[in-house]
Amino acid sequence: MTTATAPRPPETPARAATPGKRALVVGASSGIGAALAKRLVAEGWQVAAVARRAELLDLLAAECAKLPRAGGGGLVTAVHDVARAHEVPELFERLARELGGLDLVVYAAAVMPKVAKDEYDTEKDLEQLAVNVGGCIAWGNAAARLFQSQRFGTLVGISSIAGERGRKGAPVYGTTKAAMNTYLEALRNRLSECGVHVCTIKPGFVDTDMTKGMGKLLWLISADEAARLILKAARARANERFVPRQWWIVATVIKNIPSFLFKKLNV
């Protein structure tokens, strides 16, 4: 027998092909995204933080450098405008390689410009669409391709309570969040077959730049508290989760108000 010269079995699985603690956060320069990145690094994850504003990413990197490193967490950053969807495949690949694999992708990028009561600005609206929906689809598709092929991974999309109904105050912001909800639900249904999870997060009011100057807000929580609840939901493989959870009550009421009444209300 030639067992001495026998061919060797392939050296799989490589580290990248087995689950670990490697996360990609899109929209990580401020608000919930930044809070998530910090929490993950503190918990020992390798995190890639993607955002448009380089100076805020540097700030985030400096803050993460100060975190206790017991678990061996780390942060890499990449400057990217999510409206430039064609850049996503290459950047996604570069970051996934740098992290040595990928287990979690969070899409937290969003804009919510102030809209006057009588304002119908198509350019501004389509810009929101590009960031909130276009970017989500570009990064979501890249994540879905990878996760489906490796049969593990979690995609978390930060949507909003605002996607439940079309309201007077922010027609297109609500539209983008409703689109995101449907897109994420479809991915969840597609990917559950191969063990991949997609989690839709619907925050209420979170103390970030987005809610600055809105006055006193119901059930306002800090970005860090939101991040804690989001990671908890993702670990529990929640399908849809209101953050904090009591928004579920509000959403259920709002969803069930008939249109003839809803159009008279100022919500």
């Binding site: 067992t3 990248a16 092909a17 087995t18 890499v76 690949e93 694999g101």
Partner: protein, 488 residues
């Protein structure tokens, strides 16, 4: 903290060509790697991918639907080019039965297009998902190999984009050497850009099938040999756990095409909808059925399942001849979607198929030894399939005038060392008996085995052609490096 990166050499992607970062694995899941996958939609995009890979000094592995069990379409040291973006049937002539297809057209697309006109692909695999480019590159065979040869015998001509970007039209007269080398050339000489193939006239959407139970290997081979003249398809399932006097017991399926007039209403049976496989299995939705198989995926469970199948087969034999649609007869592997997940879903868990091809003179002795040694080593295949074959003119063909036995072995990170040692021992037996192997199924061979199984003249000619068309070794895969030392 920044992780070290080898990303820089992967940076320049050709503009406009779709690509993504994925885990690319063999169908059996025992081998795979993360990497970039390109999906060109046109010949120009395909050339652009070749050019950019050449510029970056990165190899490309060609891939269709990824149905090869082993590492034939895995390239862990470079990029992967998935041809499924080019998937139009460019021309179909229902008068002559000749189809002209882009490389990513699948067997499924082809049969669904041509069957309503009364045609069926001359050669199909046990699954309908392979692309024609993949089928041609691996030179696939079906349950009728003894009668009609491999798919290469049905191919009239093809266009091949060579690594330099040149488009060569090949058939049995023009570039005949390349025609016979690229079919079965496992994607080493170029990418198929167009495939012209002949199909088979059928007079019904049904076949007439007859099941025959055999108590042992000798009886199985005898019964199949007795039917090669009358049956259009022949395949035997064997219970690889049965030993002693029952060694090689199993069930033969023999099928024949219906003659004109035998089917009173061919228009009805030729309809695609009537060919579809059943959506439920014992009331369980197909998509979840693999979970039931998962519960049985160990030696005791599979011993019981194989024994039960043999016992139940008596009922099928009693039915006598029955009619079954082409798709239901041909595509057994598609009955339970993702059945391979029964072998485990984590990377590195899965199966290999080890298919040996043995000339008829030594077949009985060698196949018997393969089954016996597997039982003795307690590494018993969960599935064993016996087929009859004939030689063909392709340079690196796996075909012999003889028999093949395809064995599904379970792979886990813990058991793979022992499994590879076992296969290595079996390989010696097979090569000593003048046998061969098939790259769509292989994950265990080494260069010394290639040198022993192919005639020296063909092997040298193939290497020379590879070096002429691809001097920089642009096209490479794990398989090419494992079995051919990367044509270095």
């Amino acid at each position: 903290m920044t992780a070290s990166t080898n990303a820089s050499r992967f940076d320049a992607a050709p503009r406009g060509v779709r690509s993504s970062f994925e885990y690319v694995e063999g169908w059996g899941m025992a081998v795979g790697a993360h990497g970039r996958v390109f999906r060109p939609r046109t010949v120009d995009e395909l050339r652009a991918v070749f050019a950019s890979a050449r510029r970056d000094g990165v190899t490309l592995g060609l891939r269709g639907s990824g149905c090869s069990y082993g590492d034939a379409s895995v390239n862990e040291r470079g990029h992967v080019l998935d041809v499924r973006g080019m998937n139009r049937i460019m021309a179909w002539d229902p008068a002559t039965g000749v189809a002209e297809c882009e490389p990513g057209v699948t067997i499924e697309q082809l049969w669904k297009t041509i069957l309503p006109d009364g045609w069926w692909p001359r050669v199909v695999s046990g699954t309908m998902f392979p692309t024609l480019a993949g089928a041609a590159a691996m030179n696939i065979h079906g349950k009728n190999n003894y009668a009609v040869g491999p798919i290469g015998d049905a191919i009239r001509a093809f266009d091949l984009v060579t690594p330099s970007g040149e488009l060569l039209t090949c058939d049995r007269e023009r570039n005949a050497d390349l025609f016979h080398a690229a079919i079965g050339g496992f994607g080493m000489l170029g990418a198929f850009a167009r495939i012209v193939l002949a199909t088979k006239r059928v007079h019904s959407g049904d076949l007439e099938v007859r099941a025959l139970r055999v108590p042992g290997l000798a009886e199985a081979m005898e019964a199949m040999d007795a039917r090669t003249g009358s049956a259009d398809y022949l395949v035997a399932w064997l219970d690889a756990f049965a030993d002693g006097a029952a060694l090689g017991r199993g069930l033969i399926h023999a099928a024949r095409y219906l003659e004109p007039g035998e089917d009173p209403d061919p228009a009805r049976t030729l309809a695609v909808a009537r060919q579809e496989l059943p959506p439920n299995i014992f009331g369980v939705p197909k998509s979840e059925a693999w979970r039931a198989l998962r519960l049985l995926n160990h030696d005791a469970g599979m011993r019981a399942l194989n024994a039960a199948k043999y016992a139940v087969s008596a009922l099928e034999v009693e039915r006598g001849a029955y009619r079954q649609s082409h798709a239901a007869f041909a595509f057994l592997l598609d009955y339970v979607p993702n059945w391979k997940w029964a072998y485990g879903r984590r990377a590195g868990h899965g199966l290999i198929q080890y298919q040996v091809f043995v000339p008829k003179e030594t077949a009985y002795r060698v196949l018997r030894a393969v089954l016996e040694e597997s039982q003795r080593a307690r590494i018993v295949p969960y599935l064993a399939v016996l087929k009859r074959h004939r030689p063909d003119p392709f340079w690196l063909t796996h075909a012999v005038d003889g028999w093949s036995l395809a064995l599904d072995f379970k792979v886990t990170p813990e058991t793979k060392e022992a499994l590879w040692r076992h296969c290595s021992a079996l390989t010696e037996r097979v090569l000593d008996g003048g046998g061969k192997f098939y790259f769509a199924k292989d994950l265990v061979l080494a260069p010394e085995h290639a040198r022993r199984m192919f005639p020296a003249k063909e092997l040298a000619a193939f290497g020379a052609l590879k070096r002429r068309l691809d001097p920089d070794n642009l096209l490479s895969t794990n398989l090419a490096r494992r079995v051919f030392d990367g044509f270095a």
